[in-house]
């Protein structure tokens, strides 16, 4: 039997709060890219479970708290 995690975690940015500091991409380069103006391009859809801890660190690194994790039960 396959065990599945109960919640889906998605990264979301508040585009109005974001000031393109870019720390999120430094924290999580494997999943977050910056556009040519320095604003983050986030992975679409739920994160693989093994990336959730790193995503939390990326969100915590944002100086203006524009990056957040959204959890949804599935």
């Amino acid at each position: 039997m396959i065990t599945r995690s109960r919640t889906e975690v998605t990264l979301r940015v508040d585009p109005i709060a974001c000031r393109a500091h870019g720390l999120c991409a430094e924290e999580m380069p494997e999943a977050i890219n910056l556009d040519e103006w320095g604003y983050p391009i986030l992975p679409g859809g739920p994160l693989p479970p093994e990336l959730v801890r790193r995503a939390r660190a990326a969100a915590a690194a944002c100086p203006v708290l524009a990056l957040r994790l959204e959890q949804r039960r599935r």
Binding site: R12, D14, P15, I16, C18, A20, D35, E36, W37, G38, Y39, I41
Partner: protein, 457 residues
């Protein structure tokens, strides 16, 4: 409840209280022949408004299939239900905002509607307010627009209700009448979009559940509440019953606003306006799509049919380019307008829009590299803004690129090889000094299309 039950069962319908229904097959529903009719004229034409409950109203709207007329096309019944649910869960009275601003400079329909039939718009707003138990109604108009006097005069004719109804002037900017920007302005005086994360149906004006609906949407709501979904759907298509107001402008002999039954072929609509049968037109407003007139002649005017044909309903405007008009030049102008109109709050708006506007201008000047830059930048900007403004600009630019890489490939080649372009790229109205203003009524009623008025100068 089925549509039939709603149409016959609601105590609200005027057939029951004895007022004759207007002919459902005549599409002069929204625009009476005389401008600014008095409340007495209005009631004589359409009868009094019925009373309602939230469930009744949401049911009627869903049965009627009414989609919002401000550009996004969201189902109005679902919006009303969401606000009604928030009123219960938050235990706060709702606020209703009638958006009469019409921020898109290609559209005149709401201005014409408010001038011709202010009481119908007010009926819709007050009816929604009554259903939702709202104690505040805001009629939002642009700064200095004639609509503020028309609405104030109409309000003065009405008996006082327990609901506070005010006309509020909103800064005359494209982005200021976006729903979250309207709410933010009413709360704080800052008319910039608040972002997609703000649920205004729960936490809107004064922190209360807020229904923001376009003026035409509310006018349609007032008709559906009076006469029922059966009457509403006597014309239109099964997928989209009823009528719409359309603004036709650009290179046509009879520009103006018409009311059409959904599904009316574009050839009919454009033929009556005296448009050429071939060439390009901008459909749906400044966030719209370019369409080939000869290819869409047989397409019916409805949300689904237009989308399937590569167009979009958007704000319901059709701006026709003259023969030889330049899609590239017009798009560059509109993208510069979008870049200037942005609220400059988010990266895609602040940097993305000026970049693609410059790219489109450069393409027109023969810069081949601009084509690659646009193809790279458009998908990066799309969907990442604080509001839908950047997405609208991206959709327009993508539509222009599609035209330029297919049917107008030869014309693009002219631009790229310095062959020059003779077109005068000043067709699509962008407001400002040349802002279109409603003119005098110019045509008598017809059967499929009626009441043309308002010229795009």
């Amino acid at each position: 409840m089925t549509a039939t039950e709603l149409a016959t069962g609601a105590p609200a319908l005027n057939s029951i209280i004895g007022h004759a229904m207007p002919d459902p097959y005549a599409t002069d529903r929204l625009l009476p022949n005389r401008r600014s009719p008095s409340l007495a004229d209005h009631v004589a034409r359409l009868g009094p408004m019925p009373r309602t409950t939230p469930a009744q109203l949401a049911g009627l709207l869903q049965a009627a299939g009414l989609l919002g007329r401000g550009g996004a096309g969201f189902p109005t019944g679902r919006k009303v239900s969401a606000v009604a649910a928030a009123v219960i869960s938050k235990r706060l009275p709702a606020v209703v905002v009638a958006n009469c601003c019409e921020g898109d400079p290609t559209s005149l329909k709401d201005r014409v509607l408010v001038e011709r039939s202010p009481h119908l718009v007010i009926d819709g707003a007050l009816h929604a307010a009554e259903a939702l138990g709202a104690d505040r109604v805001v009629l939002a108009v642009h700064d200095d627009s004639p609509a503020r006097f028309v609405l104030a005069a109409a309000l003065a004719e009405r008996p006082l209700t327990s609901c506070e109804v005010t006309v509020v002037e909103i800064p005359d900017r494209y982005i200021a009448s976006e729903a979250t920007a309207l709410v933010r302005y009413l709360n704080s005086g800052d008319a910039r979009p608040a972002g997609r994360l703000v649920p205004i149906w729960e936490t809107g004006v004064g922190g209360r559940p807020t229904l923001v609906d376009n003026a035409e949407t509310l006018a349609q709501l007032a008709l559906i509440a009076r006469f029922g979904p059966g009457w509403f759907g006597a014309v239109g298509t099964p997928a989209e019953p009823g009528t719409s107001l359309i603004t036709i402008g650009g290179a046509v002999q009879r520009p103006g606003v018409v009311e059409v039954a959904h599904g009316t072929p574009l050839a009919t609509v454009l033929g009556r306006a005296g448009a050429p049968s071939a060439g390009w037109a901008l459909l749906g407003g400044l966030a719209g799509r370019w369409v080939d007139l000869s290819a869409i002649a047989g397409v019916g005017f409805s949300t689904a049919e237009l989308a399937a044909a590569g167009g979009t309903r958007g704000v319901g405007s059709i701006i026709v380019l003259p023969p030889g008009g330049c899609v590239l030049g017009e798009t560059a102008r509109i993208l510069r307008y979008h870049a200037d109109a942005g609220a400059r709050q988010c990266g895609p708006c602040m940097f993305g829009l000026p970049a693609i506007a410059a790219d489109m201008t450069a393409l027109g000047s023969g810069d081949r590299g601009a084509l690659d830059r646009l193809r790279r930048r458009l998908p990066v900007i799309n969907g990442r803004g604080g509001c839908g403004h950047p997405d609208g600009a991206v959709a327009l630019a993508a539509s222009a690129l599609l035209v330029l890489s297919t049917r107008e490939n030869g014309h693009l080649h002219q631009h790229l090889t310095g062959g020059g372009c003779q077109a005068q790229p000043v067709v699509v109205p962008l407001g400002g000094a040349s802002a279109p203003r409603p003119g005098a009524p110019s045509r008598p009623a017809g059967s499929a299309i009626i009441n043309s008025t308002g010229r795009l100068s």
